[in-house]
Structures are given as structure tokens and as C-alpha cells.
Amino acid sequence: MHHSIEVHNLSFSYPDGHPALRGVSLTIAPGEKAAIVGPNGAGKSTLILHLNGILPVPIPQVWVAGQGQVTICGLPVEEKNLGRVRAAVGLVFQNPDDQLFSPTVYDDVAFGPLYQSLPSAEVEARVTAALAAVRMEPYARRVSHHLSSGEKKRIAIATVLSMQPEVLVLDEPTAGLDPRARRGLITLLRQMPITMLISSHDLAMVRELFPRMIIMDEGRIVADGPTLELLADENLLEDHGLEKP
């Protein structure tokens, strides 16, 4: 049995020379739900982009190549495995506007299955199931441009659910949502029986949903353990710019 996500000694620098990740190691077991927390610029989003092989970009002048190894469900993340890794990891970007690039909601949710060249009946079934999972079935023919932030967020999650990934990775899922949309999203995430790794500043949600918490700061993992234990350590939270919820 493989771990869902294995990150071994990962380092990465942006082209301006700023090191974003310095020797990060991390293992997520199947079925586990974990949250990465930490201040802005701690490297959370950079780490998440590595899980899908979006970083490092193979353009030498633009990016400084990373070091270390990321393995998803037993597959090393490298050029020849990218397609399969991307099918296994459903990555939901922080800004749903980045995620939704098609004219209608249906087109966006169907993109993943269509790219995998699945038969059209299967595509249809997956889109329906994904929209049902986020309770957005009536929105299939809507234009995503005109939806509210909360609606866009749900559609963004549906666009990766339709690929039936093994791991769901969300970058700051509750950022910018009003209390009702946030509550709805928390209920939604609670009901999903899938391995989940998120990054967030919303410690109240982390306490509610994620038994495991990983604190990152300045490109390093500074603490990794049960959420309730870490949240009880006020000195630790304060040292890394976090506030007890």
C-alpha cells in the first residue's frame, strides 16, 4: 500500500532567488485529512503546486529548478507521469476564477473527463454526480462568469470531483466566502470520503474538520501533529503568526 502523498526533502526557489521551500518532507496516508497552516509567504501554495507537477516549470531561464522528490500514490512526479499524477490529484486553486476557464459550468466540470477521452455517457454521469456532490445540479447550463464567489467555489470543487481523484487538494478553500457560504462549504467537505489536504488561514475550520495540522513558516515545516494539541500550544501559534480560534 502506497501513501497518497509523499514529499521528500523538497526545496524550491523562485526566479528572483527567493527560496520558497527549504527541505520539506511530508507523508499523507490514504483517507487522511490534513491542513497546512502558516503565514502568507510560508510556502503553502508553492508546496501545493508541486503536488500536481505544476511546479517546477521546465523552463530554465524562468524558474530555478527544485530539488527533492514528490510521490503521488506511488508515482514519482516527473515529466512522463504528469498526466496520471494530475488524474490522481484534484487541485482546487484559491481563486475560482483561475479554475473556471470554460464558457459554461457544464463545460468546465466536463473538462477533466473529456480530456481523459471517456465515453460520452460516462462523462455525462460524472458531471451529474460531481454537480450533485456540491449540490449545484441546476447550474449546469449557467455561465460561470456570473456566479457568486460561493457558487464559483463549489463549481471549482466539482471540476476536480468529476475526475474522481484519489486526493483532493484545496488552496485556502474558505478565503473570501461569506459566513453562510463558508458554513455550506464546511458541511460539504465534511461529507466527502476522500483523502484531503488543504492550506488555510481559517483555523476554526481546521479545528472542525481536520484532525491533523501542519504548520509551515519560511519554507519549512515547523510543526506536524494532532490539530487540538498544536492549537493548545499558544506560544507555537504566536511564533508563527497564527491566532488561536
Partner: protein, 267 residues
């Protein structure tokens, strides 16, 4: 994820970089005008024009290779002048039979074509040196200083500012597409979808990008109006042009006029 590599400006410490942007802009425009006005097939003048731009390139520390590589961008546009070879009278060089047609190449047409190609190549080099040795905001100020209509300058400025934002936006859309381009491991199954479907997706992305740009322009305009924008972008006035800059400007223009006269005399 940000895009910096589009900016043509290359910081160096050279006399060309240090020259007043207004003087540089005027001299560049004068150079391009001279190249455009020089009569057809005035080869010695072309060689002199080339030697001028070559010396500026060497002086600027940008590297001749750098400029020439970028100047290759102008080559595809030269193709537009290709029909000139066949459409002029004068001495026929040779004929190419194409099916029932015959294309005749004329000596004068050939000279004309090479003149156009050389002129555009030289002009593009001058523009590249200007853009690579002057930060864009300075260039905009210089445009205002030489009385280019402010609406035009404002459009240049906003285009420059938001081009990068738009490229970032496009990159994020492409990243989102890449993130969901999964492949099934089953043997014998080809992923990727059909070509028409992929074209359809790309079209959708272009449309999305257009809508976002449109929305953003509306928001930017409102943000500008709310800060008192009335159709003009005001900037602090530039310092007066120094005497050395005047001298460079005078000498440069004098040289270009001499070249032009020589060109007409030769032609």
C-alpha cells in the same frame, strides 16, 4: 507566478542608457524617418545607416548579437514586400513558369525589395535599442514631452501596465487546464480528447480572457474616476534637457540629414 521576461528593458550602465529619453526618442524617430525616406537602392547610405546603428549597439553594451536576434522578428513582415519583385518594369532578369502563369523577376523590383527589407531591418534595430535602453515609463514621459497626443500616450501606458496582468491571467488559466489534464493509466486508452474539442476549449479560454479583460477595464476606469481622473494622466514635469543632450541631439540630426542628402544626391 509573474512574468518579467517580456519587458524588453535591459539595465546597463552605458552612455546610450544615460542619454536623455527625449533625445533618444527623437533621434530614433529621425533615424527611422531617414531610413524610410532614403531613395531605393542607395546602397552606400544603407551601409552608413547600418554602421551608425551598429556603433550605437556596441556603445549601449547590449551586445550586437542580442539586438540582431531580436531584429529577426521583422523578417516575416518583409515577406509582405515580396510581390514587389514581380510587379515592376525595367530589365527582366528571369521568368518562373507556375502552371499557366509566368512570374517575371525584374532587376529594379529586386532592388526595391532588398531596399524595403534593409530599411525595415534597420528601423527595427533602432526601435529595439531604444526599448532596451530606456525604461518604459521614461519613454512615455518622453512621448508626452515631444507632444504626442496624450490620449495615445495614456493608451500606451495602460496597455503596458495591464499587458502583464493579462499575461498572468492567461498563464493561470493554462495552469488550471494543465492541472486537470489527467491521463488514464489503462493500456490501449488514449487520453487527451479530440483536436476539435481541444480547439473548442482553447476558444472558450480566449473568450473567458476577453470577458475578464473587459470587466477589469471597467473596474480600472471606475477606480481612476473615483480618484479624480478626467481624461488626462498627470505626471511630474521632467527636468530641462541638458546642454550635452542638446549637443547630442543636434549632432545626431545633422548626421542623419547629411545622410539623407547624400542619399538623394546618389539616387
Amino acid at each position: 507566478m509573474h512574468i518579467h521576461f517580456l519587458d524588453p528593458y535591459r539595465p546597463r550602465t552605458s552612455p546610450v542608457h544615460a542619454l536623455d529619453p527625449r533625445v533618444k526618442l527623437v533621434l530614433t524617430l529621425a533615424y527611422i524617418l531617414t531610413a524610410a525616406l532614403t531613395p531605393i537602392a542607395a546602397w552606400p547610405v544603407y551601409i552608413l545607416l547600418f554602421s551608425i546603428i551598429l556603433s550605437v549597439e556596441i556603445l549601449s553594451g547590449l551586445g550586437v548579437g542580442f539586438v540582431l536576434k531580436r531584429a529577426a522578428l521583422s523578417l516575416p513582415f518583409v515577406l509582405a514586400a515580396l510581390p514587389v519583385i514581380f510587379t515592376n518594369g525595367g530589365k527582366a532578369l528571369f521568368s518562373l513558369p507556375i502552371g499557366s502563369w509566368t512570374l517575371t523577376v525584374y532587376a529594379e523590383g529586386l532592388g526595391r525589395f532588398f531596399s524595403v527589407a534593409l530599411k525595415s531591418w534597420l528601423s527595427v534595430q533602432a526601435a529595439i535599442v531604444l526599448a532596451s535602453s530606456t525604461p518604459f515609463p521614461d519613454l512615455l514621459q518622453a512621448m508626452r514631452a515631444i507632444r504626442i497626443p496624450r490620449l495615445l500616450v495614456a493608451i500606451f501606458g495602460l496597455m503596458w501596465r495591464y499587458l502583464f496582468v493579462l499575461v498572468d491571467e492567461a498563464l493561470r488559466l493554462m495552469r488550471a487546464r494543465a492541472a486537470r489534464s489527467g491521463v488514464i493509466a489503462e493500456t490501449g486508452h488514449r487520453s487527451g480528447g479530440s483536436v476539435t474539442w481541444r480547439a473548442h476549449v482553447a476558444g472558450g479560454m480566449a473568450g473567458t480572457l476577453f470577458l475578464r479583460a473587459f470587466d477589469r477595464s471597467e473596474r480600472i476606469y471606475l477606480a481612476m474616476v473615483s480618484r479624480g481622473y478626467d481624461g488626462e494622466i498627470r505626471v511630474l514635469p521632467m527636468a530641462a534637457v541638458g546642454s550635452l543632450s542638446w549637443l547630442v541631439l543636434g549632432l545626431g540630426l545633422f548626421l542623419l540629414i547629411l545622410l539623407l542628402l547624400f542619399g538623394f544626391f546618389w539616387g
